[in-house]
Symmetry: C2
Subunit: 404 residues, 2 copies
């Protein structure tokens, strides 16, 4: 698979997070000649929070993680992730696989069973060969290293064309607090390789409920606002661990929230930039909606419209398709109050094509790699921003032409 043209220049240097170690290994779950399993261990006292897919057919691992949220933070914690098999729609056998993996990790890492979290990503509906994973646990324990996060990012990739990482350092009360995260995802759901997975670590000190509510709030401005193909994975998981080893309490701290937001936004944008077949990074800004819910309807209708996305792929400033998307969204809209811009170029205003509209200027704008679609509904204060990519032949090739 060719590297996405929207990929960052390089994987970033991620800081060591005191209290977290990593190791990756090649268990041969499905892929050959690459790593496909990672184990992260967190020091006793670490807070764990998580956000999960709302799919009604979510995987056994997701159900298990959800059941373990809020467990006693006095103990250590472990996160084990495999790629190559999603363990979704695998019935009772899938639940048994999760149990065996968790037991294997708990025994070796000396953490309680309810502090072992797992994720699986890959093909749906195939039995997970968990014995291949548990056979690697001794190696993964022996190889634990504070520097292993980049290797972990590579081990969780499926159809991703690049590994995804992001970090921020924020100084609070004169002390540095580190945040480092990794993610995988190439489409909200990749071909048979269902899943967006995100793991974020910090040495900040924060309780479970405070971290959980912060994570939910920031997810609604980051990972919940990206879309590649409108499809939702059975396995989407975001787990965050806070070791507290910095000694800095970040409860209700705005600077920490901003830094975490920056890491989450960066990782979510990297997932869009690795969207299947993507050649353009698209930002849809909706303002002036009657309320935020309406703004979100318009933004998502625009970002998910196959006609808008193919027009962007074709570098066609086809604003009639944006009018169509606004109209079908279900949000309150008034044709005569609507303003549509491409970047700063006004396309439509007062219910008609803007008098200053220039086909040449808009066509030139569409040749860029970053496309901003700005829709103002002229009704109220509701706003929403979502990020997506274009819909290209390559998306069809990846999803139709190759048998999975």
């Amino acid at each position: 698979m060719a590297l996405s043209p929207l990929a960052p220049a390089a994987f970033p240097d991620l800081p060591v997070i005191d209290g977290v170690t990593f190791a990756a290994g090649a268990a041969g779950v499905k892929y050959q000649n690459r790593t496909d399993v990672m184990l992260a261990l967190l020091a006793p006292g670490s807070t764990i929070a998580g956000v999960f897919t709302r799919s009604a057919t979510r995987s056994a691992n997701v159900l298990d993680c959800q059941a373990k949220m809020g467990s006693d933070a006095q103990a250590g914690a472990a996160i084990l992730v495999n790629s190559g098999n999603s363990n979704a729609f695998t019935g009772k056998a899938g639940e048994s696989s999760v149990k065996r993996i968790c037991e294997g990790v708990a025994a070796r890492a000396d953490v309680p069973l309810d502090r072992v979290y797992t994720s699986s990503t890959g093909v749906i509906g195939e039995p997970l060969p968990d014995d291949r994973i548990t056979a690697k646990l001794d190696d993964l324990m022996a190889a634990q290293s504070p520097d292993g996060i980049a290797e972990a990012a590579r081990a969780i990739m499926t159809t991703d064309t690049f590994a995804k990482g992001s970090a921020q350092t924020v100084t609070i009360d004169g002390k540095p607090v580190q945040i480092a995260g990794i993610a995988k995802g190439s489409g909200m759901i990749a071909p048979d390789m269902a899943t967006m997975l995100v793991y974020i670590f910090t040495d900040a000190q924060i309780g479970h409920s405070a971290l959980q509510s912060l994570l939910l709030r920031l997810t609604d401005r980051t990972f919940n606002n990206i879309t590649v193909d409108s499809d939702t994975s059975t396995s989407d998981t975001l787990l965050m661990g806070a070791t507290g080893t910095s000694g800095v309490d970040v409860t209700d701290n705005a600077a920490f929230a901003d830094a975490l937001h920056a890491v989450m936004l960066d990782l979510s944008h990297q997932v869009v930039r690795d969207g299947e077949g993507a050649t353009k990074f698209v930002t849809v800004n909706v303002t002036g909606a009657a309320n935020d819910t309406d703004a979100r309807l318009v933004a998502m209708a625009t970002a998910n419209s196959p006609l808008v996305k193919t027009a962007i792929a074709g570098e066609d400033p086809n604003w009639g398709r944006i009018v169509m998307a606004v109209g079908k969204s279900g949000a309150q809209a008034d044709r005569d109050l609507l303003t549509i811009r491409l970047g700063d170029l006004v396309l439509a205003r007062d219910g008609w094509r803007a008098p200053e509209y220039s086909e040449d200027a808009c066509a030139a704008y569409m040749k860029g790699q970053n496309i901003d679609i700005n829709v103002d509904l002229g009704l109220g204060d509701g706003t929403c921003t979502v990020w997506t990519c274009d819909l290209t032949h390559e998306y069809i090739r990846i999803n139709a032409d190759y048998r999975s």
Copy 2:
């Protein structure tokens, strides 16, 4: 544009509807060397009913038609349709265009202004050159013929690859009642050529409110249950005229309702069969949902999923993607009660791949032109059937590679 591989063998022989005449002409709205305007005249006493797009950015023509529903049936009526320009998002000028066309038709056809209905289909946001249309009205009046419906079907085409018609004859109280309909549409919204338009005529006798409620009920089982790309036009219009000239009252008549349903189902399927880039005709049957609303959510989530649609294009029996679509739909679902079939072949049951699953048998099934996806949720009595097509390179080519 090559003829869709799913096109019917030929345009059907449509019966003359007593009390309705047609003519088509070439006004040069946008296209050259083809007809692009049609005028249908209905005898005094004809009932008119209509169903329209719910888009918040619907066209001036749609708003005008909606305002005229329920007008006095004692007078005659006229329907004028142009292709090449949708008159959508054309501001106050668009409303003036509709008014001028309606005035021109009303004066010549001797019908009240509120009995003239217009539709426009084509590019969004360009001023409609209504003078080119009114300049043709004398010709259209002179050419009126009871046999002109096939010509009318051709005049309203935009990116359609075939003209669409359907008819039924039903005998009620020993007397024949005729129903004939035409449609255009190639995608719920075609590239810049927004619109699905449908015109149905009958010599049955039925009042406005009875016809309107019948039309709404049947639309929910036909045109509202097809999807090509999940996009909704600013101009979608279904108009039906009942001349009453057969002298047969069909109010609450089940046989008439069945025959009308057959015409609407046939026309709606023809729109799917002309879906942009379509190579497969797909039926999604959902049963066992908690209620009909949930069934519809699951059916539409499946039929609109780019991953399901590309799997069908690739002839890949990728049932994990159907599980994904069920999960994301928002409907109540229980993994362990779900049964998924391709035709009669069971893919998944009891929360896992069915023991009798055969990759070879399913792969062979996917090579057919008609694909039935049957999802049973095992929860209740809710059902829904929707029809769609696959998502292919040709869809991208039509919508991205050519500048509109």
